[in-house]
Amino acid sequence: MDIAAARKTRFTLFVTILTLFLVAALLVGIGVTAADYIQNRSNALRVAAETFKEKIGRINERRLAFFAAPFLVLQQFYGHPALREATGSRDEILKPILPGLAMNPQISAVYAGYENGNFFHVLSISETEKPFIERLGGPAATRFAIREIRDDDGVRKASWRFLDARGQQIGALADREATYDPRSRDWYRDARAEPEKMIRTAPYMFAATSQTGMTLSRATEGGAVGVDLTLDRLMEYVRSVRSNENQRFVAFDEQNRLLAHFDPERMFKTSGTGEAKKVELATTADLVDPVVREAVQIFGRQGPYELARIDVDGSEYLATVVHQVGRDGSGFHILYAAPMSDFMGPLADAAARSILAASLIFLLALPALIYFAHSISRPLSKLSEEAELIRSFQLAEPIRLKSRVREVNTLIRSMSGMKGTIREITKFVPKALVRELLQSESTVEVGGVTRRVSILFTDIRDFTDMAGQMPAEKLMINLSEYFEELASLIIRESGTVDKYIGDAILAFWNAPLPVARHEHVACTTALKCRLALRDLNERWAERGLVPWHTRFGVHVGDAVLGNVGSSDRIDYTAIGDTVNIASRLEGLNKHYGTGILASGEIADVCSGGFLFRRVDRSQPKGAGKPLDVFELLGMREGPEELRATPDMVRLVEDWNRVYEVYARKDWLGTLDALQEFAAVHPEDVVAGIYLSRVVGFVLEPPPDDWEGIIHFSQK
């Protein structure tokens, strides 16, 4: 792994999977929200179109209902015989008319005007007209007021009668000067101008009551009849169609004069002040509401439209303008506008709804997600731990994992197999070597390096003889037990078990991995092996088995360490004289009756920590240099079972005295010394050899330049 990669933040698989699920849930939430919103929007447009149709339908319904009664009343007036002549009593008509007025509060008055200036006027007095009657001087209980204007000999006079709700006269005003002349009024002139047509005036302010309204009028033979409608009622009536205050409607005629406005105050515009103050009907040009203005502008460009979207101050509105034909045959337009939000929730609402739903789903699914994420990540993280174990070479435990995910399961099986295989392979090759291979991630190639290694060579005394006396299977079992004991000990002591040669073991230290003070470690291991084998022999003795005695050779020196073999089968091994000498030392035990023989090179390094006994200087056959041979007896300090006994210390002291004389080549003196030594150590074998040798030297002394080297002809 390089450093740059190691610096990057790494997430656990569990977090990654969970995050993926979370992101997916979030994206679905956003997607659903967006889709919801888009769907909502197109729904909204459809709903808006329908709503507008319905609203306008209702406006029309109300309009028609509103106008139906006035038309009827006007019709009654128009055809009534009592009104045909400009003069005469009109009381006959009151009977049918008064109930009609009483039932239709929107009708404020009905009247007939004549060419001669006569005028018959029936007013319906409601709360709003009361001040007018009061000013006139009529009774407070007046429900209907009747004004008649007559032109008697050029003098126009008006008379008032006041009726209560039942039609009974409760008061009257005698002739007064008449200021009103029907012939000068728009309703009259317009009706006369188009005799066959029902005329509807534009809204205006009524002369008698100062109320705003409009007049329906129709020409008769000698004049015209009219009905006043108060706009208040109409407006109130129509405004109630709106669902809320933000919805707007406006009606205007073909001259763009307003017929209706959602805000009645805007129906009229005033100009001038004081006496010159003039109240005029507003037109579409006078509209101030930005939504309505925008809608009217669109209308101005393209005429009536079913649906248009208007943006005003960041808010969206929908508007429609439809053309209508009134009962009087005149055309007019109804504009209706409403905020988009009336037809759909705002985006935030939709998003909130969808995200809430998505979150809810996610929360409900969370345990399942965690379970799934775990089922994927847990075996993988365990497996990576296992991989680390393999890397650090802990192979004892088999992998016990299971996953629901097939691929992960396959991976676990493969890895388990791999672990087992490596475990098995390590039985054939040094573990340290495999560990090094695993850790260095290198490949095995033939080749070697020269390195100073300590070598331990072991062999079983008289194994060949014992082998012949034992069944082969039993021998193999015993041998395996023996090897297990020794090899595991050597490996524990950081040694590399190179190979088994029959009953011999070749092991070394300081390769492939460096070992500090490897000479000491090799000596200690030899002593530990001796101890372990003593225990093993005790166990075997209990089972009735013959004990095995092992001889050891310890040497240190340069050896070629490396991979030897063909490309098909490569052994990591140590080659060189050093190995041969270790083997030779082991063999010399047989001659000297010793257990552990070490070379002078070992003794040089380790004599501080271990007790050695000088054995001999020998020149083994085939070996280049003479070999100083020492017997390793025990540690100078350390665990008691590995420590040299006082007897050993004494033996070495006694022997050193003998050797001193021997080294002087004083053979007779050596004989004396040996005799003395034998008295204390009668069982010593080395001394026996020296005795034989010195007796020989007495008979045939070695040459003067002899360096104490004993030549061995046998291996």
Partner: protein, 123 residues
């Protein structure tokens, strides 16, 4: 099971070897005696005197004498004595035979042959 080449303890090596000291004028063995041991002169002097010629042989330390014992039924062919006193190592017949047995068969045969010839010549 101990093989022939198995190392022996110093104690067992001493067996068959015996160090003896003789005072001045002492006789170690006399001509005609039956004796089964050979001797190595370690210190001092030994004179061998015997045979038809009454030959006199002066021995020095490190020399072996009395090897006739190796020859079956042979008697001492000379008298070994010391003038000034000596120290010898006596090598038993058994030890001598053992040594001979350890030797190469060719050498053994040769030694056997020579000793027979010697007996023949001296009788």
């Amino acid at each position: 099971m101990i093989s022939k080449t198995e190392a022996l303890s110093v104690q067992s090596v001493w067996q068959g070897l015996d160090r003896k000291t003789y005072p001045a004028g002492a006789t170690i063995f006399a001509e005609g005696e039956t004796g089964s041991a050979a001797f190595i002169l370690l210190r001092g002097d030994v004179t061998l005197e015997g045979g038809k010629q009454r030959a006199l042989v002066e021995l020095k330390p490190g020399q072996m004498f009395g090897m006739h014992a190796l020859m079956a039924g042979a008697r001492r062919g000379a008298t070994a004595s010391t003038r000034q006193g000596c120290e010898v190592m006596m090598v038993s017949e058994e030890r001598l035979k053992q040594k001979l047995e350890e030797a190469d068969p060719f050498v053994r045969y040769w030694v056997d042959y020579l000793s027979k010839r010697l007996v023949d010549l001296s009788s």
